[in-house]
Symmetry: C2
Subunit: 216 residues, 2 copies
């Protein structure tokens, strides 16, 4: 997947020049986020639910309890939509109308499929390693009971688009003399100093792979 | 609205003790975010779209171009759902299964209504002041043409729930001796130093109301 042809549904219509359909752009946005929002219809009502996700190749993965309403509903193959949004800044213009936000977002449409049991362990390892590379070797892997209670689902990223706004405000020429401060308030996200579990055993040090996360 | 009775649809089922239904909790989460995700059905396909929002009293407000597909669809009174999610940290447990995230989220269901034209200006002022208190006085208010092209919609928060996870990992007793680092990596969000518009007029200083935003 190098370039996804936009479908009538996935094409960015409003401010069309903010639309992107190449895999590199989509993947970079997806790989920078931790939480997606999944939309589906349940009993006639559109629902949107936040959940953790990860990407492998051209699929977006989520997981959940086998008893979760969302996992059960999605596993039946109903149509769904997923969005990942990264806020990059507030755009302050000289006119109210041109105030905006800088952001990177991906919206994908499609159908989730439950992955086979024999692939679940590898998928959960990939998820863990995606969030904290090196973590899997340190922790207890899921046991049979935990695996039985966990569903992993994935959606192909073949009907997806990215939308990006960046840069300074775009005021109308006739507003440029208005003496209001104009520019961008960058919105930053990252990790603060790790907070050890109060019950952490004496002598258990913070591993380098977590130290790296907090300094980037 | 002090307490919203959870409906069968809005009640938090999975890990039910994470569910909250009081207005103070819902409002605090909504007032801390900038981007919501709106779900609705368009041509039989559930869609999820990120957009800016604000809260006034017991309503969640969004705005958009009168030509946007989402604004046009929602204005017809179709059922919708909105989520606001704040990621607070990665929860690192001794077992893969108990890895989690700390977060605060609100999910609301309902129907948007287009607000009357005569209330639009006040709503847009409230939105601007919500994001940057003091800003409205400095900028050019929307003109007739801009107002005509802008739709403001609102949804009552009467079928909504919050879900919150906080605190350290909860490992099983038999895993406590595993020598893996356990705890929370706090996820932080905020504003970095403002970036002036390259075309900012000489002598236009950063106003205090924006300085305050970047230091909190």
């Amino acid at each position: 997947m190098n370039q996804i042809a936009p479908s009538p549904r996935s094409r960015v219509v409003r401010v069309g020049d903010r639309g992107h359909y190449d895999a590199a752009t989509l993947h970079a946005i997806l790989d920078a986020g931790y939480v997606c929002h999944v939309a589906f219809v349940h009993d006639g009502q559109p629902m949107v639910i936040p959940t953790a996700y990860w990407r492998e190749a051209d699929h977006l993965y989520i997981h959940g309890s086998t008893k979760s309403r969302m996992a059960m509903a999605l596993a039946t193959g109903i149509p769904a939509s997923v969005a990942v949004t990264l806020l990059d800044g507030l755009v302050l213009a000289r006119s109210a109308f041109h105030h905006s936000m800088n952001y990177r977002s991906v919206v994908a449409m499609g159908v989730f499929e439950k992955i086979p049991d024999e692939h679940k362990m590898a998928a959960l390892e990939a998820f863990t390693e995606r969030v904290a590379p090196g973590r899997w070797a340190d922790i207890r892997a899921p046991n049979r009971q935990e695996m039985k209670g966990t569903m992993v689902l994935r959606m192909p990223l073949d009907e997806a688009s990215a939308k990006i706004r960046s840069g300074p405000p775009k005021d109308d020429a006739e507003d440029m003399a208005i003496p209001a401060w104009a520019g961008v308030l960058p919105f930053t996200q990252g990790f603060a100093m790790p907070v050890p579990d109060p019950q952490l055993g004496a002598g258990v040090a913070l591993p380098d792979y977590l130290r790296t996360l907090t300094s980037r």
